[in-house]
Amino acid sequence: MAVEPDLKIELGKQGVFVTTLNELYNWGRRNSVWPMQFGLACCAIEMIATTMARYDLARFGAEVFRPSPRQADLMIISGTVTKKMAPQVVRLYNQMAEPRYVIAMGACAISGGPFKQGYNVLKGIDRYIPVDVHIPGCPPRPEALIHAFMTLQKKIEAQPLTGEKRPRHLDADAQGEFPVPVPAAHDLQPPVNRLVWPLPAPTTASEAGENA
């Protein structure tokens, strides 16, 4: 059973530390998130800057950038995902072992950003793989990446080990392989994975067709 937060603080003051298996497990997970060494475009440079001396991502236990997807927990999609690159990104994601997380860094990764009207630019990687944290910005400052990192850590911390909201690696039925799109004559096929990317409700008048 979980200990009441007040009691926990009180005990902590007296030198007694109480924790639950859940907390301990998530504490370990959130402080050793290893990102994949994977840069796409401009944002990758800010990602590198984040790991360098001034911002020092190592303070969050994430300095080990793994060159292989098999050893990484986190994929930072840092930059424009083009349609030519998208199958490779999905393939790399499929190769990562659970638990795996995705940060979409920058406008291009979230929605295609400034290049979204381009014929070869994917309008957001979340059309093919689930994204945990989005960072707006073009490119986001290194501090913004660290902020996103802390957001992700909070998310990991809040995950229960059992029940409906348990992380995917503890759920035997969770989807593991995501379909890799195939480059076709005019566009990627399929253009979107409906299981990951449900069409959102219209947000503006024109999208709802009100003042067309």
Partner: protein, 384 residues
Amino acid sequence: MSTSAIRSYLPPVIEVDAENELLEVAMGPHHPSTHGVFRMDVALDGERVVRLKPVFGYLHRNHEKIAEKTTYLASMPYTDRLDYFCSMTNNWAYALAVEKLAGLEVPERAEYIRVITAELTRIQNHASAIGFLMQEMGASGTPLMYAFREREKILDLFEELSGSRMMCNYMRFGGCRVDLPEGWLDRVSRLVAELPRFVDEMEALLTGNEILMARAQGVGVLKPDLAVNAGVTGVMLRATGVNYDVRKVDHYGIYDRFAFRVPLGDHGDIYDRYMLRVLEMRESIRILEQALPQIPAGPILDPKSKPRGFRPKPGEAYGRIEAPKGELGFYLISDGSGNPYRYRVRPPSLINLTILEDMCLGQNVADVVLIFGSVDIVLGEVDR
């Protein structure tokens, strides 16, 4: 036509024993050392490279198509994202082409600001390029850390000036967007005074290093006649000994007013390219030392230039500058409307890769990574 003149410059064909089985390796598009999303399809005979085909387009973001659908000004922030290390020089090249197309004059103060920002850009680009090259050589961390430490200082200055660290969007047709903030010049002077110490430190760390020499000298040699014919520019070209620097040749901006030398290499190998980057940083510091005290007061923008409703008369223009990576050109065709009819970027990074195959053939596969790193490319510019 004289028959002796017909010389073509094609990569050599490497002879392979018919019994040997070739190993085909696809390096990239996700590869730790490819500076982003670049792919090389390599065929290996043991350790030796016998065929190499670069594959592009993994970062093709349709910059040119988007620019042809939008106004002249709206393309300016997109140029920042071409070579995302050097947004200031990209801005300048584009502004220069538009100025040629529309016949705009740049006030003197703006010319000085352009030189100062461009040379700062060159320093941070070369420092980072050396850092990445060493990263690929296996010097994990240290040189790159040092380079980024200095880079952050320069980026701080850019942020103070333009508001953004990397994507400055600072120059305008016929000048610059805003005037210098108070005290900015003093802070640049202070940084410029510190920079020689940084270059010395970099040199103490690397120049005499035996490992660097062993791996870089005589590797990835490029011959001057091939370099010229293949349109290689920038450090890559000058490392072969060809004296061609657009700053000296084209007399653009106000580079004529400053005394600086164009460092030249002798062997055209990786070590020469490294050394040239160091020397160019020193020359950039010299230009900055001359430009900073001279900067005059005055306007920073041509009064004829306006942000909205900019429509140059029909015609075309090709403008180019010496960007840190080589000759960066913009080719614009105007049909008299608010959007360019044709907008073309001449990317130095892409054209410098033309001879990648020639340089790598016959070398060991481990050196391919190094040769590629010494070209100093940015994928945003290669694929656009």
